[in-house]
């Protein structure tokens, strides 16, 4: 697997050793059950050591893994009968953002998310999950559609950031993001946001205003990338690991800052190790939170959303 990270090496080595022994045992007929059980115990310990106290930088690495499940993978497992819709009706269809409709436990929902690629070709098509303005405008179109038909909106956030290119600027990247913040803050239907991978600055926030905002345990969310911060601070992008250590970008950090409502646990090693169980945790969260939000009258819903945003920040 090319998803192995440095700190995972001992785990992977031991896993393959156990595999070899099992093979040998079945081929040769020698009983190695005791030996294998001892090694399995050891593996559990090593895994706990490796995964339970991940540094911020290790989480950054996990959040960015190509194997990490993307929006469409979660949608497939969580949303029944998903139909994808395309285009912003103004300029183009941006493949870095996907959206459409389906049902969640019988309730019609609109689902929108950043979409990264699963391989190089796919990533070129998806622009590595970095949207242009038309992506944000497509998202807004689908949100307004959800408002009209009184469907709640489920948002998946997973982007390194809004694309920093010439055409993105020409077509108003800043305005597109700003307008989403403006409209999402007063959208007359519930919005639940789940950060599933990278929450890259304004490009993430443009899909990130909601009545509930939660993050997967190993996802990250920050105002600037660790590489960006380290090149500003120390003129050296290779010190990103140090930068990640000071910028407080983990799910737990954001929970402590009251920026998010919940951290959703991932399987040991990361969401990609067990996509089914991660999907089912997300689904449980949605099913638990949505009915309460849908029962609120719209004015209260929007008032609560405003107060949530209103409480962001700290001063003396």
């Amino acid at each position: 697997m090319n998803s192995s990270l440095n700190f995972e090496k001992p785990v992977i080595e031991l896993e393959s050793k156990i595999g070899d022994l099992e093979n040998f045992a079945s081929v040769s007929g020698v009983n190695l059950e005791n030996e294998i059980n001892i090694l399995r115990k050891k593996l559990d310990n090593i895994k706990n050591d490796a995964y339970s106290n991940l540094t911020p930088w290790q989480r950054v690495k996990i959040a960015r893994l190509q194997e990490r499940p993307t929006s469409l993978e979660y949608i497939e497992k969580i949303i029944y009968g998903f139909i994808e819709f395309h285009g912003d009706r103004l300029y183009a269809d941006d493949h870095a953002i996907v959206g459409g409709i389906g049902t969640l436990k019988g309730t019609p929902v609109t689902v929108i998310g950043h979409q990264k690629g699963k391989n190089t070709n796919d990533n070129i098509k998806r622009n590595f999950g970095m949207p242009h303005p038309e992506g944000y405008r497509k998202a807004l179109r689908l949100m307004k559609q959800a408002e009209k038909f009184k469907r709640p909106v489920i948002m998946f956030v997973d982007t390194p950031g809004a694309y920093c290119g010439l055409e993105a600027e020409e077509r108003g990247q800043g305005e597109a993001i700003a307008l989403n913040l403006f409209e999402m803050s007063r959208l007359k239907t519930p919005i639940i946001v789940i950060v599933i991978g990278e929450g890259g600055s304004g490009g993430a926030l443009a899909l990130g205003i909601g009545d509930r905002v939660c993050m997967l345990e190993n996802s990250i969310y920050s105002v600037i990338s660790p590489e960006g911060l380290s090149s500003i601070l120390w003129k050296d992008a290779s010190l990103a690991e140090e930068a990640a250590g000071i910028m407080r970008l983990t799910a737990q950090d954001l929970f402590e800052f009251n920026v998010i409502d919940k951290v959703i646990k991932e399987p040991l090693g990361g969401a990609h190790k067990d996509v089914d169980s991660t999907s089912s945790k997300i689904k449980q969260y949605l099913i638990k939170e949505l009915p309460g939000l849908m029962d609120l009258d719209i004015d209260t819903l929007i008032q609560n959303r405003y107060e949530k945003l209103r409480g962001m920040g700290t001063w003396g």
Binding site: L166, R171, Q173, A178, R186, V223, L233, L254, W315, G316
Partner: protein, 305 residues
């Protein structure tokens, strides 16, 4: 006159050097780095070099023209207090939230020190001044960002002061004018800075729901998280000539696309061509333009109801 002599020279960094016999000699040509150092020397003195026409100008003179070059109309960056004096009627300004203090939520290395230096440099407590006042008699709520204070970056205090100002405008049913000048969200406050974008945008959506006017004035530079929040949400968006306006900074874009950006890219005139700015307004006409817009809105539009 000394100024006349200087203007004839080609050098951008001419300074006045008197030899012992009283002759005035210009500086020799410098390398770029030396030139920048000399610029700083010049600018610390009575003189300032115009980035538009390369002339060396008397500071005293450009202050009289509200920091606009009287040769080429280059608009120098302007401090927030000067801006307030330029736009509002004399003695009409009442400042909000003077006491609000910046804190360091991340224990970010060197942040407190940076804040203190910015305070010393600008004499202000943060990167925005907010309050209310009058423009030719018409009452407005006004927020003016200060690019000299940590690049006009938006942290919690900037976001909170702007949000409170907007809420005050809703309460008093007044129009809001925000002068943007910012490098973007303030990295030293991490995610909390990012969230100020959502907070200010939400306050503006409330203002809009109330049918109240918001005029955004973009000044040099308006980039990053400020562009991607309140700066581009104006009912009417004005810009000063040749201001840098964009989401990503030009250097970041050049690194991403690995090519030089065309001349004038991300300047006010470019944004207007692309449809993101209503009007470009020369600083000397700004107060009057704001007044005219405010006046028309003050007449109301409910005849048919």
């Amino acid at each position: 006159m000394i100024k006349e002599i200087l203007r004839k020279k080609k050098y951008g960094t001419i300074n006045v050097n008197k030899t012992e016999n009283g002759r005035i000699i210009p500086y020799p040509k410098y390398t770029k780095k030396e030139k920048e150092e000399k610029d700083r020397e010049v600018e610390n003195d009575l003189w300032i070099r115009c980035k538009g026409c390369d002339e060396t100008l008397l500071k005293e003179d450009i202050i009289k023209t509200s920091y606009v070059c009287n040769r080429c109309d280059y608009h120098f960056r302007m401090g927030a207090r000067d801006r307030i004096n330029l736009i509002l009627d004399v003695d009409s300004f009442m400042e909000y939230d003077v006491e609000m203090k910046t804190i360091d939520p991340l224990d970010f290395p060197g942040y407190n020190n940076k804040i203190n230096k910015a305070k010393e440099k600008t004499g202000e407590s943060e990167a925005v001044i907010t309050g209310e006042g009058r423009i030719n008699g018409l009452a407005v709520v006004i927020c003016v960002m200060n690019a000299d204070f940590m690049m006009g970056s938006m942290g919690s205090v900037v976001g909170e002061k702007i949000t409170r100002a907007i809420e005050k405008a809703i309460e008093k049913k007044r129009p809001v004018i925000i002068f943007s000048a910012s490098g973007g969200a303030r990295m030293q406050e991490g995610i909390l800075s990012l969230m100020q974008m959502g907070k200010t945008a939400a306050a503006l959506s409330r203002l809009s729901n109330e049918g109240l006017l918001y005029i955004s004035v973009l000044t040099d530079p308006t980039t990053g998280g400020v562009t991607a929040s309140f700066a581009t949400l104006g009912d009417i968006i004005l810009a000063e000539p040749k201001a840098l306006i964009g989401f990503a900074g030009p250097r970041v874009i050049e690194q991403t696309i690995r090519q030089k950006l065309p001349e004038g890219f991300q300047r006010s005139e470019f944004l207007k061509e692309r449809g993101f700015v209503d009007r470009i307004v020369h600083r000397k006409n700004l107060k009057n333009m704001l007044y005219k817009i405010l006046y028309i809105h003050s007449l109301g539009g409910e005849k048919n109801e």
